[in-house]
C-alpha cells in the first residue's frame, strides 16, 4: 500500500526512506527522485496550486498503477503545495523492491506520470515582481507516453490535447 501525501510542509527524506525499509528483510533496493525548485532567470519562489478533491485521488491511482506494474515492497509519493522557495524540494518519489530494476523503473515511471497526470499548477515568482504560470512541456507528455498503457488518469484522452475540452 502506497503512502501518498499532498502537504505544504517540507518532508524528511531520511525518515521517509527509513519508513520504507523498517522492519522488513526483503528490501534490496530503494530508488528515489527529489524534485527541487531551481532559481532559473531570477526565480525566487513558486506557488503550487492543486485541486484538493482530485489531486490525492490521482496520486493514489498513479501509485497503484506502479504497484501493479512492478513487484514493489513499498512506494511513497509526497507532493508539496503552496509557496516553495528556490532551492526547496517540491516532490519526493520513493520506490522499494527486492531488486534494483523494479525500484529504478517504477521511480522514473511515477515522476513521468506525475508530471502529466496529476492536477498541480506552478506559478513562478521572480525577484522583479513578475508572476508567470509555467506552461506544460511537450517532452513531459512524451516521457509519460513511453510507459504506454491506459494509465492512472485516462492518458488516451490526454494525448489529444487539440480536442481536450475544445
Amino acid at each position: 500500500m502506497a503512502t501518498v501525501r499532498v502537504q505544504e510542509a517540507l518532508f524528511d527524506l531520511a525518515a521517509e526512506t527509513a519508513a520504507l525499509t523498517a522492519g522488513r528483510s526483503d528490501v534490496g533496493a530503494v530508488a528515489s527522485f527529489l524534485g527541487v525548485c531551481r532559481a532559473d532567470d531570477g526565480l525566487s519562489a513558486m506557488v503550487l496550486e492543486h485541486y484538493p478533491a482530485m489531486t490525492e485521488r490521482a496520486l493514489r491511482r498513479i501509485a497503484a498503477e506502479a504497484e501493479a506494474r512492478w513487484p514493489l515492497t513499498g512506494c511513497t509519493v509526497i507532493h508539496r503545495v503552496g509557496r516553495i522557495l528556490a532551492g526547496e524540494p517540491i516532490v519526493l518519489v520513493l520506490t522499494a523492491s527486492a531488486h534494483r530494476a523494479a525500484a529504478l523503473e517504477s521511480c522514473a515511471f511515477l515522476i513521468d506520470w506525475l508530471k502529466t497526470r496529476a492536477p498541480f499548477w506552478k506559478c513562478e515568482e521572480f525577484a522583479d515582481g513578475e508572476r508567470r504560470w509555467v506552461a506544460a512541456r511537450a517532452e513531459d507528455e512524451a516521457a509519460a507516453a513511453r510507459w504506454g498503457g491506459a494509465g492512472a488518469d485516462a492518458p488516451a484522452r490526454r494525448r489529444e490535447p487539440e480536442r481536450a475540452a475544445g
Binding site: 485541486y51 485521488r57 492536477p119 499548477w121 506552478k122 484522452r157 480536442r163 481536450a164 475544445g166
Partner: protein, 83 residues
C-alpha cells in the same frame, strides 16, 4: 452544477468557483464551455484558446464529449505542471 477554475483560468474568470445552471441543451463539456464563454469577458478570455484548456467532471479527467448534468462538479484548468 458547480464549476471550478484553476491557475490562470481562475485568474481570467475572476472567481475560483461558481454555481451554474445551463439550459438543457448543454449536455457535454464542449457545450458547457460555449455557454460559459458567453457569460462575461473574463469567461471569454479564459476559454479563448481551447487547446490550452483541460477539464474534469466529478474529479475525473474529461474530454469535450464527456456528459455534464445538474449536480456535477466540473473543473477547468490548464495542462498540469506538477512534479
Amino acid at each position: 452544477m458547480r464549476v471550478l477554475y484553476f491557475a490562470w483560468l481562475r485568474q481570467k474568470v475572476g472567481v475560483a468557483e461558481e454555481e451554474a445552471a445551463p439550459p438543457a441543451d448543454v449536455r457535454d463539456v464542449a457545450g458547457l464551455i460555449r455557454w460559459l464563454a458567453a457569460r462575461s469577458p473574463g469567461h471569454a478570455a479564459a476559454f479563448a484558446d481551447p487547446r490550452q484548456v483541460r477539464a474534469a467532471v466529478n474529479q475525473e479527467f474529461a474530454t469535450p464529449d464527456t456528459p455534464v448534468a445538474p449536480g456535477d462538479e466540473v473543473a477547468f484548468f490548464p495542462p498540469v505542471t506538477g512534479g
